[in-house]
């Protein structure tokens, strides 16, 4: 299986994950969306040295993994290309911020190291929360919920079609990649001299394919407006989920839970 094919399988796997039937999947998409947005905003708002305060925020994704039945390994496997980017963002902090920040068993830890770890954790938590939203909510259900919240239809159509178009593009890339590999034995990937024609052909072929798809849509009455999947109406359970999560996030954000727990243990 070539890389493009693997990427395509992974993309389809997200659809399969999102079609699950756990209690988390059953929640109203709007409630999940707002919870995730609030979570990300609060995670990002932690100070750069506030590692102790940030750690308890990891409880949310851990609980969601448990309740949704989505394997944690799947998440980190799918985020394997994003996580190194997060790491590189904070990589230089230890070089620029060398002031001692804390002592750990006789070892002086600089502010740069603490801020790097904080940044890494923030990035990981935000990516994980986004992944969990996508893995427990179908894209059209999410769009339906957003439409109800008066997000412009054109923006949502763009979002939905982009999601679908990525699949079309990847599928064409997979076919071309196989065709290339079969006539280029011993080569790893596409030779740089073939990059131009390869990309050009990929674009032309995927445009052809996209046009055909669009024609199929028009023939079935599509007029730039999607009838999204039925958005499940928000129930008391969804409201309770949102309120409890929001209260917990605010508590963890503004009350130094780690310090209080640490104080209890030390005492």
């Amino acid at each position: 299986m070539n890389r493009a094919e693997q990427a395509l399988r992974e993309l389809h796997e997200m659809d399969v994950l999102a079609a699950g039937s756990s209690p988390v999947h059953a929640l109203c998409p709007a409630a999940k969306f707002f919870t995730t947005v609030l979570y990300i905003v609060l995670v990002v708002s932690f100070g750069k040295y506030d590692l102790a305060g940030l750690v308890p925020m990891a409880l949310f994704p851990v609980l969601l993994f448990q309740c949704s039945g989505i394997p944690m390994g799947t998440c980190f496997h799918k985020l394997r290309f994003m996580l190194p980017l997060v790491l590189t963002v904070g990589l230089f902090n230890p070089f620029f911020d060398r002031a001692p920040y804390l002592m750990l068993g006789g070892l002086t830890v600089s502010g740069g190291v603490v801020s790097m770890v904080t940044l890494l954790l923030k990035g990981t938590l935000c990516l994980t929360a986004s992944f969990l939203l996508m893995a427990t909510t179908r894209i059209d259900a999410l769009c339906a919920a957003l439409r109800k919240l008066h997000v412009p239809g054109r923006f949502l159509t763009l979002l939905l079609l982009t999601y679908r178009y990525v699949g079309v593009l990847t599928e064409e890339a997979a076919v071309m990649s196989d065709a290339y590999a079969l006539r280029a034995p011993g080569q790893r990937g596409v030779h740089h001299r073939a990059w131009g024609p390869f990309l050009g052909q990929l674009l032309l072929r995927s445009m052809d394919r996209a046009e055909e798809l669009y024609a199929a849509m028009r023939l079935r009455g599509y007029h730039s407006h999607f009838h999204y999947a039925l958005a499940a109406p928000c129930t008391v359970r969804d409201a309770a989920y949102l309120i409890v999560c929001a209260a917990a996030f605010l508590l963890l954000r503004f009350v130094p839970v780690s310090e209080l727990l640490g104080g209890l243990l030390v005492r």
């Binding site: 389809h12 659809d15 399969v16 079609a19 179908r138 059209d140 679908r164 599928e171 394919r209 055909e212 798809l213 024609a215 199929a216 849509m217 028009r218 023939l219 079935r220 009455g221 599509y222 007029h223 009838h227 999947a229 039925l230």
Partner: protein, 245 residues
């Protein structure tokens, strides 16, 4: 039901694809559009659906195909594309089936009832909630036909409905076509399929109508078919023996 009157079309002016083509399809009739590769079969289909502009006049149920009438025309004509992958774009078969009816104003409940009926008619209810990308070629083709039937069109246009199917699935498609009561126009160079499903045949060659008549007559005329780069259907020609010279 469908009238094509003196239609011409060219992608490039110096290379016409269709030249003064005229034919008609009566309501309830099943007509085969045959011809070698590049004869213009798919182009005819696209013109009937208003996907390509043309010179000449195309009428569907008395309404001329033009920009203002496309919605009405496409509600009446269902089109099964040659490649089912290009036709289906929603995550599951059922959602794909709801897409058309809901665009044409059916409520979700109505659309679901139509989709269920179409699945039942084709005997593929087991595919209802399957993911499109996990279907086999034959299943995809049947699902693609179901998405069109769910729209309850008055006529169905099919472009190479048996392309890339194994014998079992090809037979399934033939039985499905024979069971459909709508007016049908089938473009194919699978002449055995045309012989089994169509009462009348239009032979295209070089963008022109080379012959038209009863399927049994046209498809038995070896000289005519060979003159236009076709062969007798296998069921009439007899299966070649590997030992024959």
């Amino acid at each position: 039901m469908i009238i094509c009157d003196n239609v011409s079309f060219a992608y490039e002016p110096e290379r016409p694809v269709l030249q003064n083509l005229s034919f008609h399809v009566e309501r309830g009739e099943t007509v085969g559009l045959i011809g070698a590769n590049g004869a213009g079969k798919s182009t005819v289909m696209k013109i009937l659906l208003g996907l390509l502009p043309c010179d000449g006049r195309v009428l569907v149920d008395g309404t001329e195909v033009k920009k203002a009438t496309l919605g009405n025309i496409r509600r009446k004509l269902g089109f099964v594309l040659q490649n089912a992958d290009h036709q289906m774009f929603m995550p599951t078969v059922f959602e794909d089936m709801l897409f058309g009816p809901m665009n044409y104003g059916a409520t979700r409940a109505e659309a679901e009832a139509r989709a269920d009926a179409a699945l039942e008619q084709l005997g593929i209810t087991a595919l209802k909630h399957r993911q499109n990308h996990r279907l086999s070629g034959g299943e995809k083709r049947m699902a693609a036909i179901a998405t069109i039937l769910a729209m309850e069109p008055e006529a169905v246009l099919m472009d190479e409905p048996s392309a890339a199917l194994d014998p079992f699935n090809r037979r399934l498609v033939i039985q499905t076509i024979r069971g459909m009561t709508q007016t049908k126009l089938i473009a194919s160079h699978d002449l055995d399929l045309i012989l089994e499903t169509c009462s009348r045949v239009i032979l295209l060659s070089g963008g022109k109508k080379a012959a038209e008549g009863a399927a049994g007559d046209i498809l038995r005329d070896r000289t005519l078919l060979e003159a236009h780069r076709l062969e007798l259907p296998l069921c009439l020609a007899g299966y070649p023996n590997a030992n024959d010279p």
